[in-house]
C-alpha cells in the first residue's frame, strides 16, 4: 500500500498542528522532511520516541517541531506511522504537508487512515463507526452514546434480539425437518407472541433514531416571525457565548448562512441566520417570502410572536404560511417579550406554545424541554440504546419490517414462509451489528470520515 499523509489537526490557527504519515515509506518520508537535532539518536528509529528538530522543503528549513515514530503494527493504522508536530499556522502546516507529499507520500483519501486501521485488524467496523461518531460529536449526549457504542452496548442489545430470533428460527426448522419427532416445543400462537415482543423492541430501537439524529446530525430549524418580535434576540440567546458551538459551513464571518447551536442535548441547524439579522435591522424589508422557503425545508419551526402587541395581519400571514407548508405539528410557537407584556396571552393554532423573554434569558428551559420532547427525548430512558447512525437505523427498521411480515405470514401463509422472514430479520440485524457487511456498506462508512482521522 502506498504511503499517505494528511493534516491531522483541525484547519485554522492554533498553537500546534500535526501532519500524519502512514505506510511502509513513512520513515523514509520523515527523514527527507525532518532534520533531527540529534541525528545519531534519530537513526535508531525507536518506536514511540519523540525527536526534536526542524522541518524543511526544497527551499530549506521553515519551522521547528517534534517528530514521533510508531512502528508497525503498534500504530493507529497498523503500518509504520510518523507524526510531525509543527507550529499551528495555516501556511506552515500546509508547507509541511506539501513537503511530505513531494517527498514520497500521497494525499490521504477521506477516511483512509481509519480504513487502513480497520483493514489491518486494529478495530472492528462498529468501533470504526463509533470513532466517526466521537470525532463528529458536537453534543455531550452524542459523545456518550458513541463512547457506549464503541464499548459494544448496542451490539449487546442487538445480539440479544438476534439470539432470540435465532432460537425461534431453530424451533421452526426443527419442527419442519423432524415431522416425526412428536415435537410440540413451540406453538404458532406462542411463536406469534414472541415475534410481537421482538417487533416492539426493534420498533423502539428504530424509533430512537429520531432522537439519535437530533443529538448527532442535528435538526434543520427555521426561526421565523415578523420584524421586531425578537427573532434576533432569540438567535443571540441560542448562539450566546455560554451555550453556542458555532461552525461556519459556507462563507465568511460576515455572511454566515447556517449556524449550529446546541439546545440541551439537541443540535439545531439554524438556516438563514444572516437573513434574520438583516430583516430585523431593516424594517422596510418586511415580508415573509424569505421565511416561507425556510419553513418548508425545516424539521423544526420556531415561530416568534410579540406578546406585547396584538396579533396583526403579518402574524396571521405567517401562521397560514406554516399551516400551508404542513409544518403545524413541527412548530413551536414562541411568545416573546413576556417581560413587558401586560395583555392576555395570544391564542394561536399551535399545540406547542411557550412564553419567554429572550432579552432577560427567561423561559429558555421550557424551549429545551419542548424541543426535546418533540424529538423523542422523553421516550428514551437513561439506559436505553440510541441509534445515531442512519445505516444502523435502516437495518433495524428492515429487521422490524421482516418480523412484521413473519407475524402476518403466520396468519395468512405457512410456517416455512414465517421462517424465511425470520431469516431476513436475522440478516438485517447482523448487518446493523456489523456481523455481516456488504461491500457497499464498507465503502459508504469509510467515505464519511474526514481526511486525516
Amino acid at each position: 500500500m502506498s504511503t499517505i499523509a494528511a493534516i491531522g489537526t483541525p484547519h485554522g490557527k492554533g498553537g500546534v498542528a500535526m501532519v500524519r504519515i502512514s505506510g511502509s515509506e513513512a520513515f523514509e518520508v520523515a527523514k527527507r522532511v525532518f532534520v533531527p537535532a540529534n541525528k545519531a539518536r534519530f537513526e535508531k528509529q525507536l518506536h514511540g520516541s519523540v525527536y526534536y528538530g526542524s522541518f524543511r522543503d526544497e527551499k530549506g528549513v521553515f519551522d521547528d517541531g517534534i517528530c514521533i515514530l510508531f512502528k508497525s503494527p503498534s500504530s493507529f493504522t497498523g503500518e509504520d506511522v510518523c507524526e510531525l508536530y509543527c507550529h499551528g499556522g495555516l501556511l506552515v502546516t500546509q508547507k509541511l504537508l506539501a513537503s511530505a507529499l513531494k517527498n514520497g507520500a500521497r494525499m490521504a483519501l477521506a477516511g483512509e487512515f481509519t480504513r487502513r486501521a480497520f483493514i489491518n485488524g486494529k478495530m472492528s467496523l462498529t468501533q470504526a463507526e463509533a470513532i466517526g461518531g466521537i470525532i463528529d460529536s458536537v453534543s455531550d449526549k452524542h459523545l456518550t452514546v458513541s463512547a457506549n457504542q464503541a464499548n459494544g452496548s448496542l451490539s449487546r442489545a442487538l445480539g440479544e434480539i438476534y439470539d432470540e430470533l435465532k432460537l425461534l428460527a431453530a424451533s421452526v426448522y426443527a419442527y419442519i425437518d423432524y415431522p416425526d419427532e412428536d415435537m410440540t416445543d413451540i406453538s404458532v400462537p406462542e411463536m406469534k407472541q414472541t415475534l410481537i415482543k421482538i417487533k416492539a423492541r426493534l420498533d423502539r430501537l428504530a424509533g430512537s433514531h429520531t432522537y439519535g439524529r437530533a443529538i448527532s446530525e442535528g435538526i434543520k430549524t427555521a426561526i421565523v416571525g415578523k420584524p421586531n418580535t425578537g427573532k434576533s434576540s432569540l438567535l443571540n440567546l441560542l448562539c450566546g457565548e455560554e451555550r453556542a458551538i458555532v461552525t461556519d459551513i459556507a462563507g465568511t464571518t460576515r455572511d454566515i448562512v447556517t449556524e449550529t447551536v446546541r439546545l440541551g442535548d439537541i443540535i439545531l441547524r439554524l438556516s438563514d441566520t444572516a437573513g434574520i439579522r438583516e430583516s430585523d435591522d431593516t424594517v422596510e424589508k418586511i415580508g415573509i417570502g424569505r421565511s416561507i422557503g425556510a419553513i418548508s425545508e425545516a424539521d423544526l419551526v420556531l415561530a416568534v410572536f410579540d406578546l406585547s402587541r396584538p396579533i396583526d395581519d403579518d402574524d396571521k400571514r405567517l401562521i397560514s404560511a406554516i399551516i400551508e407548508s404542513g409544518k403545524q405539528s413541527k412548530t413551536v410557537c414562541i411568545l416573546n417579550k413576556s417581560d413587558i407584556a401586560s395583555g392576555p396571552c395570544h391564542k394561536l393554532p399551535f399545540d406547542r406554545a411557550l412564553s419567554i423573554s429572550a432579552k432577560n434569558n427567561e423561559g429558555i428551559e421550557l424551549l429545551v424541554d419542548t424541543v426535546g420532547e418533540m424529538f423523542g427525548a422523553g421516550e428514551i430512558g437513561e439506559n436505553d440504546e440510541i441509534i445515531v447512525n442512519a445505516r444502523q437505523c435502516a437495518a433495524v427498521a428492515n429487521a422490524a419490517n421482516a418480523v412484521g411480515n413473519a407475524i402476518e405470514a403466520l396468519d395468512g401463509f405457512t410456517q416455512d414462509i414465517a421462517g424465511m422472514d425470520i431469516e431476513i430479520a436475522l440478516a438485517a440485524i447482523a448487518e446493523a451489528d456489523g456481523r455481516q457487511v456488504s461491500e457497499d456498506i464498507v465503502n459508504e462508512i469509510f467515505s464519511h470520515f474526514c481526511v486525516g482521522k
Binding site: 489491518n120 425437518d177 401463509f413 410456517q415 416455512d416 424465511m420 457487511v437 464498507v442
Partner: protein, 623 residues
C-alpha cells in the same frame, strides 16, 4: 499385489450402494465404459438401515436426482409400500415425500437395471488399492491381484471402509449387515494422500411382525392417491406403518445400563450424527421428555421383518431386548436383527472440488458416506454428480456443478466441500437459503434441461416435461388475465371463507392470493371445460399464492450470483494479504475458493475477512 492386468476400462466405481449405483449408471449412460465393484453381488443397492426413500429435504434430493435422469426415484416408485407427503400443511417449500420401500425388491430392481445397462460391468471383488502416478489415477487393484487400468476412480465405500460393528461390549471388524469390511483400501488411500476421518452411525433392531400386538399401536396409513417421485402415475399403498412410544420403564432400563453402552463407556471413538441419535442419546440428552416416538415400518411384502425406527442403539443385546419389550405393543417382540453401531473411515470433504474430484489427485472422486454424509439420498445425489463429472473428464468435456440457488444437490455438495463436516451430514430444508425456489414440484423445471443436455434424460421423458411446462404456463397466464364476474356466486364464496361481499368482479390470480381460497374454488367458479393434472394445478396455485415471496427470493438469488461472480484469482497468496486473520488466511490458502461467495461460506472466514478480500479485489489485487 498385482498378478495380472484385467481389461482396460474408463471409470471404476468402488461400492455398489446408493452412491455407487448412480455414479456407475451416469457414466455408462453417458457412453463411458465403466466397472462397478461390489463386495457381494447379493447386496447391490442394499438398505442397511431404514426401508424408506425420501423424508424432509431428502425427498427434494430424490426429485432432483430423478429430474437429472438418476435412478433412485424410479426404483422407489417401483417398490413402494407406502407413500406419505410430510409437512403437507407446513408450506409448499417444505413438503417432502417419503416412501416406504420393499428392501429386497429394491435390490433386485437396481441389480437388474445395472445388469442391463450398456457400457457397464458389475463385478464382485474387493478393491484393495487405488493406483496413482504423478498425482493422477491410473487404475485399481483387487484382492485377487487383478489390475484394472482406468482414467477415473469413484470411491463410494459407504460404511464398509474400515468398518467396525459395536454391540455393547462386543466389537468386530465388519461392514454393514455383517459384510466384509474393506480394510486394505484404507492404507492405499492414505498413501495416495487422502486425509481420512472416522465417523460413526447406527441402526435399530428388526423384529418379527407376528410378535407385535398391533391393537395397542397407532396405525399410520399412506396418503390416498399418493404422489410419486417425478410425479409418476400413482400406485396403491400396500402396507401400513404403526407408531409406538417409549415410556418411563424403557428410559429406566436405558439409564440403568448406560455404563454398558459403548457410546458412554468410551469404546466408540467415531463421531456420530446429531440428526439421527441413538435411543440412549435421546434419553440422556432430552431427559425431561416422557416418551419418544417409535415408527414401526415394514421391510417388504415377502418378509415378516419389521424395522423399529427411533430405536437405534449400541447397548448389549440383552438390554436391547429388555427395552423393546418394555414398549406397549412390543411386549412379546421376537428379535431378528440386533441393533448395532458402526464405525467407518471417510475422507475430509474439504479436499474435494464441487465436482467431487479430489483437488490434489486427478481422476479420483468421492461420493456418499465416504464424503462425510449420511443417508441413501445424500449418497445417490453425490454419486450422480461424481459419475457425471468422471464421464465428462474422460470425454474431455469440462465440469458439471450445481449451485445453491438452483438445487438441494448443489447445497449439499457446497456445504460438504466448503464448510466440511465433523459429523455425518444430513440434508435438511433449513440448509437451503432458497427453499421457496427449490421445491419438489419444480425440480424438473430446474434440472431436467440439464439432465437432458448431459444425455441422461430420454427424449420421451423430456418431451412429456416440455408439454407439462406449456400446460402450466398457459394455466398461469389464464389465471393472471381472466376475471371472475362479480355477483352472488363470488360473494357467497367470499363470505363462506370469512371475507366481505364486494359485488365486484376480480382477476382470478388476485382472488387466489387470498389465503382461504384454493385453485379448486376458482375452477368451480370458472366453468372451465379444460381438464388439468392435479400436480399442475397444485404448482400453479403455489406459484401464484407465493409469488411475492418467490420474487423476493429471486432477488436474493441475484445478490448471491453477484458474490459468486466476484472471482478470486487462483494464484492469490492469502498469507501476504494484510488484515486477513491468520486462521482465515490459512483456510483460504488451503481451499482456494473460486469466488467471494464461496469464501464467505468457509467456516473460520469472518465477515471482516470478506471485507478485506473485497477491498483487496477493488484495489486490483494490490496492497
Amino acid at each position: 499385489m498385482i498378478k495380472y492386468t484385467a481389461e482396460k476400462t474408463q471409470v471404476a466405481i468402488i461400492g455398489a450402494g446408493h452412491a455407487g449405483i448412480e455414479a456407475a449408471l451416469a457414466c455408462a449412460r453417458m457412453g463411458v465404459k465403466s466397472i462397478l465393484f461390489t463386495l457381494t453381488l447379493d447386496l447391490v443397492g442394499n438398505m442397511p438401515c431404514n426401508p424408506s426413500i425420501g423424508g424432509t429435504g431428502k425427498g427434494h434430493l430424490v426429485f432432483e436426482i430423478d429430474a437429472l435422469g438418476g435412478e433412485m426415484g424410479r426404483a422407489a416408485n417401483a417398490v413402494m409400500l407406502q407413500s406419505r407427503m410430510l409437512n403437507a400443511s407446513k408450506g409448499p417449500a417444505v413438503r417432502s415425500l417419503r416412501m416406504q420401500s420393499d428392501r429386497v425388491r429394491y435390490r433386485d430392481y437396481m441389480k437388474k437395471i445395472i445388469e442391463n445397462t450398456e457400457n457397464l460391468t458389475l463385478k464382485q471383488s474387493e478393491v484393495v488399492s487405488v493406483e496413482t502416478e504423478n498425482g493422477r489415477v491410473i487404475g485399481v487393484t483387487t484382492s485377487f491381484g487383478a489390475f484394472y487400468p482406468c482414467e477415473c476412480v469413484i470411491i463410494a465405500t459407504g460404511t464398509s471402509l474400515g468398518g467396525r460393528i459395536i454391540v455393547g461390549e462386543e466389537a468386530y471388524e465388519s461392514g454393514p449387515d455383517n459384510t466384509l469390511p474393506a480394510k486394505r483400501l484404507v492404507d492405499s488411500l492414505a498413501e495416495a494422500g487422502v486425509k481420512l476421518a472416522r465417523f460413526k452411525t447406527g441402526t435399530p433392531p428388526r423384529i418379527h411382525a407376528d410378535s407385535i400386538d398391533y391393537s395397542k399401536l397407532e396405525r399410520q396409513d399412506g396418503d390416498t392417491d399418493p404422489i410419486m417421485f417425478g410425479f409418476a402415475p400413482s400406485r396403491e399403498n400396500l402396507l401400513p406403518c404403526y407408531i409406538a412410544y417409549t415410556n418411563e420403564k424403557t428410559h429406566k432400563i436405558i439409564r440403568d445400563n448406560l455404563d454398558r453402552s459403548p457410546l458412554y463407556s468410551g469404546v466408540i471413538h467415531g463421531t456420530g450424527p446429531r440428526y439421527c441419535p441413538s435411543i440412549e442419546d435421546k434419553v440422556v440428552r432430552f431427559s425431561d421428555k416422557e416418551r419418544h416416538q417409535i415408527f414401526i415400518e415394514p421391510m417388504g411384502t415377502d418378509t415378516k421383518e419389521i424395522y423399529l425406527q427411533g430405536l437405534s442403539s449400541s447397548l448389549p443385546e440383552e438390554v436391547q431386548l429388555q427395552l423393546i419389550r418394555s414398549i406397549e405393543g412390543l411386549e412379546n417382540a421376537v428379535f431378528m436383527r440386533t441393533a448395532y453401531a458402526i464405525e467407518y473411515d471417510c475422507c475430509d470433504p474439504l479436499q474435494l472440488k464441487n465436482t467431487l474430484e479430489f483437488r490434489e489427485i486427478s481422476g479420483l472422486f468421492g461420493a456418499g458416506q465416504f464424503n462425510g454424509s449420511s443417508g441413501y439420498e445424500e449418497a445417490a445425489a453425490q454419486g450422480l454428480i461424481a459419475g457425471i463429472n468422471a464421464a465428462l473428464k474422460v470425454k474431455g468435456q469440462g465440469e458439471f456443478t450445481l449451485n445453491r440457488s438452483e438445487s438441494y444437490i448443489g447445497t449439499l455438495i457446497d456445504d460438504l466441500v466448503t464448510k466440511g463436516t465433523n459429523e455425518p451430514y444430513r440434508i435438511m430444508t433449513s440448509r437451503s437459503e432458497y427453499r421457496l425456489l427449490l421445491r419438489q414440484d419444480n425440480a424438473k423445471t430446474r434440472l431436467m434441461p440439464k439432465g437432458y443436455g448431459l444425455g441422461l434424460v430420454s427424449d420421451d421423458c423430456y418431451n412429456a416435461f416440455k408439454e407439462e411446462e406449456e400446460q402450466l404456463a398457459s394455466l398461469i397466464y389464464a389465471l393472471e388475465h381472466e376475471s371472475i364476474k362479480g355477483g352472488e356466486a363470488l360473494d357467497d364464496l367470499l363470505e363462506s371463507r370469512g371475507y366481505a361481499r364486494t359485488g365486484a368482479g376480480i382477476v382470478k390470480a388476485e382472488l387466489l392470493k387470498r389465503p382461504e381460497i384454493t385453485i379448486y374454488d376458482i375452477l368451480a367458479l370458472s366453468n372451465d371445460e379444460r381438464v388439468y393434472d392435479k400436480n399442475i394445478l397444485a404448482r400453479a396455485e403455489t406459484e401464484i399464492k407465493y409469488s411475492g415471496y418467490i420474487k423476493r427470493q429471486l432477488a436474493e438469488v441475484e445478490r448471491f450470483a453477484k458474490l459468486e461472480e466476484k472471482r478470486l484469482p487462483p494464484d492469490i497468496d492469502y498469507t501476504a494479504i494484510r488484515g486477513l486473520r491468520l486462521e482465515a488466511a490459512q483456510k483460504l490458502q488451503k481451499l482456494r475458493p473460486e469466488s467471494i461467495g464461496r469464501a464467505s461460506r468457509i467456516s473460520g472466514v469472518s465477515p471482516s475477512d470478506i471485507q478485506v478480500l473485497l477491498i483487496y479485489l477493488s484495489q486490483g489485487g494490490k496492497q
